[in-house]
């Protein structure tokens, strides 16, 4: 049982947090607040799914901190240069993917250390982003993109759908395909995976490409939600995306993955922000409270392995 608790630490902590906030304020568990909460969690969920792939192969992707703004800025640039919404979206997703591919090539083919490669590309890509628009924001007032952020099918918002679909694809990939087995194996024991014939380099490349792709998709959501692009680095999203995965029960040493856990971890982090805002907790106590809840979730999961 202790094992099960540890395995579902993030979902359990999330439920506990929901109960606490529900008791603390009637404003929390309302349709409108839940809608807002899950919409704002969508970007982090999507990014975390990419990070999950990389962490599964025992890597880490710091470049997401500038890859998201990069993808968003490419959308902004292409849109303001008259490419039209569909082309701009495609360009943004492709831009994110390219960064992931380059990371993957450096890590897998050139055998460079994950942390340093993605730290380097975090920096390079943020420079490229600034260069692209001369450091300016771009406004994208596409009705489609705005609708993406605001509308949905009935009560189901497009943002949730995107997040759920991305998570479902990640889960399918990891647990229902050969590739998933190879991702888990490569992260679990690189040498053993290579010895049984798994193309570990291609697998690691794929993981980074997946993370880049997720950033591209998150970039679309970002532009949609922000009405444009912002070239500044998103260090907090970078740390949060890793935190979501680790809270979800995956170890940074690779070989294990939990899509449910990661999604719960991402929503958990966003719920904290939401709940503390509703409760009007002083901004000085807020980081303390966030930290304490994060530690609490880690405490639940400590019995793992």
């Amino acid at each position: 049982m202790g094992e099960a608790v540890a395995r579902y630490a993030a979902p359990i902590a999330l439920v506990a947090l929901f109960v606490v906030f529900f008791i603390a304020t009637p404003k929390f568990l309302t349709t409108s607040n839940m809608t807002a909460l899950f919409v704002s969690a969508a970007i982090l969920v999507v990014m975390s799914m990419g990070q999950q792939l990389v962490i599964t192969v025992a890597g880490i992707d710091l470049s997401v901190g500038s890859n998201l703004p990069w993808a968003a800025t490419v959308i902004g640039w292409t849109w303001t240069h008259g490419w039209g919404t569909p082309a701009a979206i495609a360009a943004g997703i492709l831009a994110g993917l390219v960064v992931g591919l380059v990371n993957g090539l450096l890590v897998a083919r050139l055998k460079m250390a994950d942390f340093i490669v993605t730290l380097g590309s975090l920096s390079v890509v943020s420079g490229l982003t600034l260069l692209l628009t001369g450091g300016n924001q771009t406004a994208v007032s596409s009705g489609f993109l705005q609708g993406l952020a605001l509308n949905g099918i009935g009560p189901i918002r497009w943002f949730w759908l995107v997040a759920v679909v991305v998570a479902a694809i990640a889960a399918y990939l990891l647990f229902w395909t050969r590739t998933g087995t190879y991702l888990l194996s490569t992260g679990g024991n690189l040498e053993a995976a290579r010895d049984v014939g798994i193309p570990v380099n291609r697998v690691r490349l794929l993981a980074y490409a997946g993370s880049g792709l997720a950033c591209g998709i998150a970039g679309v959501l970002f532009v949609s939600n922000n009405g444009g692009s912002d070239p500044t680095m998103q260090t907090n999203l970078l740390l949060s995306s890793i935190a979501a995965v680790v809270l979800g029960g995956s170890s940074l040493s690779g070989g294990r993955a939990s899509i449910l856990g990661t999604a719960a971890g991402a929503v958990l982090l966003q719920t904290l922000l939401n709940g503390f805002t509703l409760l009007d907790i002083s901004q000085y106590y807020q980081p303390i409270a966030v930290g304490v809840v994060v530690l609490g979730a880690a405490f639940i999961s400590r019995f793992q392995r």
Partner: protein, 263 residues
């Protein structure tokens, strides 16, 4: 060194694999020095040698884990260059490395089907046929008489012998042409060792060639047809097992008896 010995010529008409003049260095350590190895089709060849003699390195050169520094490898008379273990696998060579190559966090059945996963459906929607793999995994293990709690448990905490049994079962199941086993019974119990030995015999009966590294001379006597002895990275002797005693083999390994190529 006298190279004018029968080691360099084909030993039998029906040769599956022929490796000549393999050398391999790791920084300062020269693990292999012009080692030769000839495997006759359908026979069990034992590779013998002291610790650090280079047996595992030789195997890893044959199967594409390390590219050899010099030397040639031919299979069925055709030169091959395996850049990765995957290529050697596709050529029909299955290997139980000394490190066993198990993924700790995957369940037993997934380890057994690693890189040979069964799938259902077609195209990009092809999904893992977990049920079929689980069922077949149970059968494979039953055949080998392996004492394992459940095929669904991960191998992380399994005992040394359990792990080794899984690795052997995997190689034996998939090996069509050549099965290489690096000290396969080192951690095995009496019963399990007997099971592996009978498995090797069954493989031979199926026409599969076996290369077996072992430190157990009585085992070599029991199941091998041919013994090749490595000393400090060089092949020093090749013997029909029926024609020698265990003590002869030990003497060849330790150097008490000089071997064919001299030193």
């Amino acid at each position: 060194m006298n190279t004018d010995v029968d080691l360099t010529k084909p030993v039998a008409q029906d040769v599956l694999l022929e490796a000549r003049g393999l050398s391999k260095s790791f920084d300062a350590v020269q693990a292999l020095r012009h080692a030769d190895l000839v495997l006759e089709r359908g026979k069990v060849t034992a590779l013998l040698g002291d610790n650090g003699a280079g047996k595992s390195t030789l195997v890893r050169c044959l199967t594409g884990v390390h590219p050899p520094d010099t030397g040639t490898i031919a299979i069925n008379g055709k030169a091959v260059h395996f850049a990765t273990p995957d290529e050697s696998r596709r050529a029909g060579i299955e290997t139980v490395y000394q490190t066993l190559s198990l993924i700790d966090d995957l369940p037993v059945w997934q380890n057994l089907f690693l890189r040979r996963e069964l799938t259902r459906g077609a195209g990009p929607l092809r999904i893992l046929d977990k049920k079929a793999m689980r069922t077949q995994a149970k059968e494979i293990l039953t055949e080998l008489d392996v004492n394992i709690p459940s095929v669904a448990s991960t191998v992380r905490r399994m005992s040394g012998g359990q792990r080794q049994s899984i690795a052997i079962a995997r190689a034996a199941h998939w090996g069509k042409q050549l099965v290489v086993m690096d000290e396969p019974t080192a951690a095995l119990g009496v019963r399990e060792t007997a099971a592996v030995e009978s498995l090797v015999r069954r493989l031979r009966d199926r026409g599969v060639t076996v290369l077996l590294i072992s430190h157990d001379m009585s085992q070599v006597k029991r199941i091998a047809d041919v013994a090749v002895v490595l000393r400090r990275g060089t092949t020093v002797a090749r013997r029909e097992v029926d024609s020698v005693t265990p003590d002869d083999l030990v003497a060849l390994i330790t150097g008490a008896q000089p071997g064919d190529a001299g030193e």
